[in-house]
């Protein structure tokens, strides 16, 4: 039961920090990057690839030239948007997994707008298309919020289910339904190309980076201002921390949840608009797939903060963009790229937690 040793010994324990320390936080994220890259290197090595060559190709493909940057930012655009959608919902501790479906709903809303408003002056036409997409995403988000408010339906379940619904709805519409492109004999799972007038203008004379990127940047600023500077943002943050006290002091929680889901859905919807009318120029399922789910990861890695989400979005955009290069130059199987993304996500999430703790040396309490 007891030992005779009375020598004072010290040992390390882990304590929760009362205040966050910027230097420590930076150290943790730097370590996470290094550990993540090391583990990725291990993965590349076991697959038989030349690790150094692969990494240099990845870096070059992601950030090595203006063209690489444009590719990266273009890939980052929808991820930043779905990441921001996650930030708004998760800061309120509304656990929406519906970003995926809202991207689809946004794209479908916008495509509907593109059909309905055809023929209007270009500026008005584009604005209405974008607005229809935003409304599409917001509506889908609102449904889950109303179900939660009225009938206490768990938002995780309802949003996941609605993701399925909306994907199948699109499958019907473009896989034989009214929106299907029919070219002579073959039926593709896609619509025909959208009119030139409906396409989002390109930036910097490139063929990849479009107006959607500016929307993503603007959305980040709006999210920041919304959360930090407005009464609604105050309510959203308070809802996340302590809904009981918020309700005790007169705020209608149900209404706040509906606002959160509408805003989150609107931003995710914008990602759908941006992908379809900025990049693929026709409505198809595969280009949208996974944007919403990856956005959850981006938002989490960004620490549920708008600026962090932009940075995380660009890093993951770079990974996606550089991966093609890596595949071509270093003969790395493309399946390894999502695996590397997963590894980095795990190490970043660990860093986010570790940033709240510190190591301290204390005397040992043993007798």
């Amino acid at each position: 039961m007891s030992s005779a040793a009375t020598q004072p010994r010290t040992r390390l324990t882990i304590e929760r920090r009362l205040n966050r320390n910027a230097g420590w936080t930076f150290t943790m994220y730097l370590s996470a990057t290094l550990i993540g890259l090391a583990l990725s290197a291990l993965l590349l090595w076991t697959s038989g690839a030349d690790v150094a060559k692969a990494f240099s190709a990845l870096l070059k493909g992601a950030f090595g030239s203006q063209k690489a940057w444009i590719g990266t930012l273009s890939k980052a655009t929808p991820l930043i948007l779905t990441g921001l959608a996650t930030v708004v919902a998760f800061r309120a501790q509304v656990w929406s997994i519906g970003q995926e479906g809202q991207v689809y709903a946004g794209a479908m809303g916008a495509y509907l707008g593109c059909l309905v408003f055809a023929g209007l002056p270009v500026a008005l036409y584009l604005s209405l298309i974008i607005l229809s997409g935003i409304i599409g995403g917001a509506l889908l988000g609102t449904i889950a919020a109303v179900l939660k408010d009225r009938f206490d339906v768990n938002e995780i379940i309802s949003t996941v289910m609605m993701n399925y619904l909306i994907v199948f709805l699109l499958s019907y519409l473009i896989g034989g339904g009214p929106w299907t492109e029919i070219s002579s004999t073959v039926v593709y799972q896609q619509t025909g190309p959208v009119p030139d007038a409906s396409q989002l203008p390109q930036l910097l004379g490139s063929k990849k980076l479009h107006l959607g990127f500016l929307f993503a940047m603007a959305s980040a600023v709006v999210c920041y201002v919304l959360l930090e500077k407005t009464p609604l943002g105050y309510e959203i943050r308070a809802l996340g921390y302590n809904p009981v006290a918020l309700a005790y002091r007169g705020t209608n929680i149900g209404r706040t949840i509906i606002m959160v889901m509408a805003i989150s859905g609107a931003i995710a919807g914008l990602a759908g608009v941006s992908e379809i009318f900025g990049t693929s120029h026709r409505l198809r399922s595969d280009t949208l797939y996974g944007l919403g789910y990856t956005g959850i990861i981006i938002g989490m890695i960004g620490g549920l903060r708008p600026l962090g989400t932009v940075v995380a979005g660009i890093i993951f955009g770079g990974l996606a963009s550089g991966a093609l290069y890596m595949k071509l130059l270093a003969k790395v199987p493309s399946a390894l790229v999502p695996a590397m993304e997963g590894i980095l996500m795990l190490t970043f999430l660990c860093a986010g937690v570790a940033a709240h703790y510190r190591l301290v040396r204390v005397g040992d309490g043993d007798v």
């Binding site: 007891s2 407005t230 009464p231 921390y241 007798v367």
Partner: protein, 508 residues
Amino acid sequence: MPAILKSVNLTKRFPGVIANEDVNFELEQGEVHCLFGENGAGKSTLSSCLFGFYHPEEGHIEFDGKPVRFRSPRDAIHMGIGMVHQHFVLVADFTVLANIIVGTHEQGWRLGLPEARARIEKLCAEYGIELELDAYVRDLAVGQQQWVEILKALYLEARVLILDEPTAVLTPAESERLFRIVDHMCKLGLSIILISHKIAEVMQADRVTVLRKGKVVDTVRPADVTPQELTRMMVGRDVELRVARDTAETRATDTVSVLIVEGLSYRDGLGKTALDDINLTIGEGEILGLAGVSGNGQKELFEALSGVLIPQVGRITLTGEEIKGLPSRHYMDRGVGLVPDDRFREGLIPEFNIRENMILGWQRHDDYTNGIFLDHKHIGTVADGLIDEFQIVAPSGATPVNHLSGGNAQKVILAREFVHSNKLLLANQPTRGLDLGVIEYVYKQIIAKRDEGYAVLLASEELEDLLNLSDRIAVISSGRITGIVDPDTTTIEEIGLLMAGSTDGVAA
């Protein structure tokens, strides 16, 4: 008498605080030893160390003269130490018998109910505990549930019993019975550590160890000291416990009724009647005290009167306007302030800073907004002014309230509710868990509001305080008002009877 349980130079630290420093404590065989101190003085930390829940960083613990090291409460229980926590750990849908033997699994695969029953019946007879072993715990009163907890410890052959504020949930009569049995237990050889901050209970113990700021001030025999001396040891200075009430001529007698509650009944989501035909009036400049054992409908009453919940039956009239059914926003707009009993859960956003908490509920008010934006500058000015006015001790207005002590956090709520209300103040347990100095401050503030003409509803577990402060005292039991008494003519015994649900004692 030899010491059965002992801490030697025990030190326990938490991030940023030393909860126990160099504590030497001795429990003798067969004594009732009281741990006395304010909240945060280190009573609970010390008992948690003795029970193996925490591990001291320095010093050690001796049991029966031998140094021991508890890895977990399991070790402590095995040695014969039992603890009854403030919050019971019982399975509501099990019988008393099942609750006592659950987790003991001494009999391998077989439950051995008949043997267990025989043993427990013997224990009950020995100590004079009356409990129906086949009753379901959910049907027991809180006071009886405590006996189940005590029996659990005795069943595990505890030789030392740690009782953490056992009377907090008891009526005066139940407390008296508890102390009788505790005395009897000691005669039969048990040793008892009693944690308390109530001076009357402390005076009944054999010895008292006073803790202040984590250190032992002294260990004394109550017979050798006066209650005043003990209080001074606990606080470290003299405290004016009594706050002067009004003289009779200025007391409200026929003033305007601010709040009229008629026939208010509320059935909760599980179909339990939480409020049963409540009738109350509170006049301008009047403090109505609310006495009752906690969990008898106080929380629901405060929630109903602030619009947080909407009772199915009855009327709530605020200065002539019927407002039952309106959401809480409307109560706030009409000048109702609320100090809820669970301050960090119901009154504050712990992660928000003091400034943000000062406007909780008023974040959309014109004063604090500038167009569609929050006017952070003005909010800061207002909040920092309140921090000065209410003597809130904090590095700055940007300090999150979860870094504040309970007293300072409570002052944030008081400040917010006082400046944003003007008619009715609802204060549920506003002093629970606070230091005496802060309690004094809180009461003075409430009296100041009363003098400004507020109607005040004040609930407290401290009957003495209610008797000192209230113009009238309403007693609540099982959701019913069992009586309204005059503090000048009533007795603790009368209130105690009403708290226990008897309506016989009501004076006409």
